[in-house]
Subunit: 336 residues, 2 copies
């Protein structure tokens, strides 16, 4: 497979992006990479050009830019050119660590939606502290701030496909993230989404377990959790922020603590390591734009080489799973 | 002041509710308490009847009941009778550890909204790990799942009043919880709420600092955070769940760890204590129903005596602050 890389996107681009690509290339000889970006900057950074090619571009889309305007006006940007390569069949998949909104816009307006999927969404993998699997699928985490019930229903279908085909989970438990666990909870959108998922679950092969709350989702109570993009984004960032705040608070207080406290931290290192390992979901990859005609993955803006490599690995798994073709077939039969 | 107590609400009612009331009574001789509930159960549990009276009721509203239906059909419940005592001027404030939705319904339909406040909201205090204060005000955390921009604008006014008058914060920083920090972020409701707060901030005496994300709110970046009830509830519960999950994970792994790990945990105890203390927001009280004609506080269903006492203390502070009269005056002049 061929992956189109937005080499200029991300806080450490192009250096760390290229390092990540080379790490992935060294591990998987079946993948090749097209780096879109400033040739003069990129060329000296590549150690070995095996399975790597460069397409020179003259513009960049920065983090703060208005997404739709950026992809419409910066026709020569690394992101737009990379997305066009996917659209034209010169590449199979798209990767960026840059502006999420711009990647989403490029995916929808250049690569295009799968027919029947009304609003593509952003899928991410979250850690489970207990339960049968290390990760669960969370969608939508911010692509669609004004979801209709139908969109959330489609996220349940897309998330279910991802859990089954990419993660190889058997009979994944699909839940709706809501304000309470009872069936009648939430706003009109979530109530209607509940009804849509529930009515169609047999036809859609969805193991729907009903509503769950964000208080419980790290406990591995479900394998796929769907909700609207605004509330999903609030929950995701609250989880990230709380974990970071706690770990940072402990670190700071250990640093300022007595000799005994420092010794205690040293003895407890195995537990801290286990915890950090459990919570580190960057190992599983980045955020996936689901519902468009090709695999697209977004790594966090602050990603370094190893995280970039993990996201590329995820992109290869998505491609190998043939999930896009399966969603396209399902959608043509069921969602038109 | 006189506080009407729903003595039958909560997982450990009436025992722990009564214990909490007595703890508060022993500390504050100016407050008196009317316990609404089953006299036969309550009487033997009260150690000392000073400043305590009992009103016998024959029904209870349980946790799972549909709120509006419950308060309409269970006219002899402890909650409905307690709310009616506040409405009739026999008590100044209302307390319950029972069904949140039913307390909200009783507050709105029995005690009544302050004129001009379209939709009362649920306010809670959240911990700050750094910043000038130990707590910040979060609203709405679940009363109003389908908020309009105007409601969120009013939450900014109510939250600002609370921070100034009850917590005595000087010039509190008021922020909108959103999907990103830029002004144009969010759905239509949040964009319109941003505009409303921003346009009226001088007249409303609000120190509006714009949007913040849930990733940052534990860092003490603002003193009042407002948003819609559904997304606010998701963020609140994600924060609670993540903190609990991390602490439980560490506890479990220390328990199953080597002697060294256990020794490490012992040495680190001061840091764990500091952390638990920082995160324990039950010290600050319960959730406040803001926008109704009397102070109403809801303690968590699982509250024991000390948490009940803290919530009653909060109720007394709210009453002493005269915030209800101030909101009523402000609302009459500005929000009609």
């Amino acid at each position: 497979m061929k992956i189109a890389i937005d080499a200029m996107g991300g806080d450490y681009a192009p250096t760390e992006v290229i390092k990540g690509v080379e790490l992935m290339r060294n591990e998987n000889k079946n993948a090749s990479f097209i780096l879109f970006g400033d040739k003069d900057q990129i060329t000296p950074l590549v150690q070995n050009m095996d399975n790597i090619s460069i397409v020179h571009t003259t513009e960049e889309i920065s983090m703060g830019e208005e997404p739709v305007k950026a992809i419409k006006t910066k026709k020569n940007s690394s992101l737009v050119k990379a997305a066009e390569a996917v659209k034209n069949g010169e590449a199979d998949a798209l990767f960026s660590a840059g502006n999420t909104g711009a990647l989403l816009a490029a995916s929808i307006f250049i690569i295009g939606r799968i027919k029947g999927i009304t609003r593509p969404g952003l899928l991410t993998l979250m850690p489970s502290v207990s339960g049968p699997h290390d990760y669960w699928v969370f969608m939508d985490v911010g692509a669609n701030a004004e979801p209709k019930a139908e969109h959330i229903y489609q996220y349940a279908i897309l998330g279910n496909f991802y859990a089954k085909n990419v993660l190889h989970y058997t009979n994944p438990r699909v839940a709706l993230l809501n304000i309470g666990t009872e069936e009648d909870k939430g706003d009109t959108t979530l109530k209607d989404a509940y009804a849509l998922i529930n009515e169609n679950k047999d036809n859609d092969n969805i193991n729907f377990i009903g509503n769950i709350e964000s208080r419980d989702y790290l406990q591995g109570v479900s394998d796929v959790v769907v909700t609207g993009g605004l509330a999903g984004n609030f929950a995701l960032k609250a989880t990230e922020g709380t974990a970071l705040t706690i770990l940072r608070f402990m670190k700071q207080n250990i640093k300022n603590g007595s000799i005994l406290v420092k010794l205690g931290a040293l003895f407890l290192k195995p537990v801290f390591k286990l915890l950090a390992n459990k919570l580190d979901y960057t190992k599983a990859g980045g955020a996936v734009i689901m519902g468009v005609k090709a695999p697209v993955v977004k790594a966090h803006g602050s990603s370094k080489a190893l995280t970039i490599k993990n996201s590329l690995n995820q992109l290869i798994s998505i491609n190998d799973s043939k999930i896009i073709a399966q969603i396209t077939d399902f959608s043509a039969e069921n969602l038109l």
